[in-house]
């Protein structure tokens, strides 16, 4: 048996996608022009699938900070924090994130994926119980594979489903750790966090919230769902990423636990990979300042979300359950989703296509992510394009029939 034979089914499905001439999983951005535009296939495209919620990738102050840091400290750290030591800026960044959340400790990772993978798999071990939302991100599922703890899934966004699983554990020994996300990455829906926290308190479970998609977007000061639902103090661990709202790359975890720092010498995804380069650390520190200083970006983002979500809903598209910086458009099946995606690309609009098994409940989606920097005109144009394609493909019904007045009556 060949090494790749086990992937035969996947290869076949993938071939189906590629024979149509465009591969949604290997798009080449020939030149990125701004947070909302890039050249793809030689044409200028509107970007509505980049998780660049505040549009900070081209923020002049963040770019300058990164360039200055490269000049001062070079291009990379060439090693991990425990082997090669920390740069002052790593420590300053950690202090600034901890202060942002009002927590005592922060650890920065090279990606958000590694933060979830390392922290979750290390916090619980043999004899402990890890309870995860069924729609958790791949990084959380991968952490489950690495831990010795017993892992149980509960129904997505359903505190009573979590409760029945905590109740069934009864007086079994071992810690309970519950994993939730601020905003879910496929349909843009938020967890009923306060209700979840109440259940966790009742059963003495620790709570970890991944605010990957909610940092900046939710809360009075952009700290995420923990802030907007008023449970910052009840969330023992908050994980997040620099790769979305903050426009760079990297991950973090904050906590008040006095022994938190022991993770620096136990979490392998922290210990055995190179630390973030100076340019990234500098741009992230600046981006965090921008998030604090410019709350109007949050308002712009949500205004844009309302424009896109309400506009698509009005045309009859089936969307995720609530407004969110991610707008997931349901399509009946995988092939239609890919066809729709390609038609969008032909019309000059780049979005993401998400098909099983990467999606919950086997749904096929066009995944759009909104940016504060989108103009209302860009979004109106997108709604018109999607409406046209949606009608052509029979996903939504056509315009109200014009009354036929001419003809052979």
């Amino acid at each position: 048996m060949g090494l790749f034979d086990r992937h035969a089914g996947l290869l076949e499905a993938y071939r189906d996608v590629r024979t149509t001439g465009a591969d949604p999983f290997q798009i080449r951005m020939e030149r990125v022009l701004s947070p909302t535009e890039a050249i793809i296939n030689g044409r200028k495209m509107l970007l509505v699938g980049t998780n660049n919620y505040f549009g900070l990738t081209f923020d002049p102050s963040c770019m300058e900070a990164a360039i200055e840091a490269i000049r001062a400290e070079g291009t990379g750290t060439t090693g991990s924090r425990i082997a090669n030591g920390s740069y002052s800026e790593h420590i300053l960044l950690e202090e600034e994130i901890a202060e942002f959340y009002g927590k005592k400790h922060c650890m920065v990772f090279t990606t958000g994926y590694q933060a979830n993978l390392g922290v979750i798999s290390t916090l619980v071990g043999q004899g402990d119980h890890l309870l995860i939302d069924a729609d958790s991100h791949a990084s959380i599922y991968d952490a489950c594979k690495m831990t010795q703890a017993e892992v149980v899934r509960f129904r997505h966004n359903d505190p009573s489903s979590l409760e029945s699983r905590l109740r069934r554990l009864g007086d079994k020994p071992g810690n309970r750790l519950v994993i939730l996300e601020g905003i879910y990455s496929m349909l843009g829906d938020s967890a009923p966090l306060r209700e979840f926290v109440d259940v966790c308190k009742k059963y003495g479970a620790y709570v970890l919230v991944d605010e990957a998609h909610s940092l900046g977007a939710l809360g009075e000061t952009g700290r995420g769902l923990c802030e907007s639902t008023g449970v910052l103090d009840d969330c023992h661990f908050i994980v997040g990423t620099f790769s979305k709202t903050l426009g760079a790359i990297g991950g973090y975890c904050v906590s008040n636990d006095p022994d938190f720092d022991v993770l620096r010498v136990t979490v392998r995804s922290y210990m055995f990979t190179a630390s973030l380069p100076p340019s990234i650390v500098a741009s992230v520190r600046q981006a965090l300042r921008v998030v604090k200083a410019r709350p109007e970006l949050r308002k712009q983002l949500w205004d844009n979300v309302a424009t896109l979500y309400d506009g698509l809903a009005a045309q009859g598209f089936k969307l995720g359950p609530e407004h969110g910086p991610v707008v997931g458009v349901h399509l009946p099946d995988r092939m239609l989703a890919i066809g729709f995606w390609r038609a969008m690309l032909d019309a000059g609009i780049y979005v993401n296509v998400a098909v099983p098994p990467a999606t919950p409940n086997g749904v096929s989606l066009l995944r759009c992510s909104v940016c504060a920097a989108h103009t209302p005109e860009q979004l109106q144009h997108m709604i018109e394009v999607m409406t046209g394609i949606g009608r052509q493909l029979g996903v939504i019904s056509g315009p109200p029939k014009l009354r036929v007045v001419a003809g052979n009556r």
Binding site: E150, V151, V152, R155, S161, E163, L169, N361
Partner: protein
């Protein structure tokens, strides 16, 4: 007479338990003493949509191989069975289960340990 599985006294007449904390609780009542046949029937009910061709689903059916179900749908089915039978089946245990029989035995085993 005590329940031979759990040692608990039997409910006098109804032998019925309403499953708590479940949105289908009002419609779904399962025997307090789920027998092996009941459990297998319930599993087969979940698996029916994934039957491949005419081959019936039986105890020896290998779930991930003989049927058209993918790993995510298996996990979702397990979540529903967990609520139907009021047990939790950890993911590492699910990974070791191959056949309908093994899944049923796991559920019965976990029920007996409650």
């Amino acid at each position: 007479m005590p329940d031979p599985g759990t040692g608990e006294p039997l409910l006098r007449t109804a032998h019925q338990l309403i499953v708590e904390n479940d949105d289908i609780a009002s419609t779904l009542e399962l025997p307090r003493l789920a027998s092996r046949v009941d459990v297998i029937r319930e599993i087969c009910r979940h698996l029916a949509p994934y039957q491949a061709g005419e081959r019936p689903i039986v105890g020896a059916t290998v779930i991930a191989k003989d049927l058209t179900i993918d790993s995510l749908a298996i996990m979702d089915m397990v979540m529903e069975l967990e609520d139907s039978f009021d047990v939790s089946i950890p993911m590492n245990v699910v990974a070791e289960i191959h056949t309908v029989d093994q899944l049923a035995d796991t559920i019965l085993d976990l029920r007996s340990k409650r």
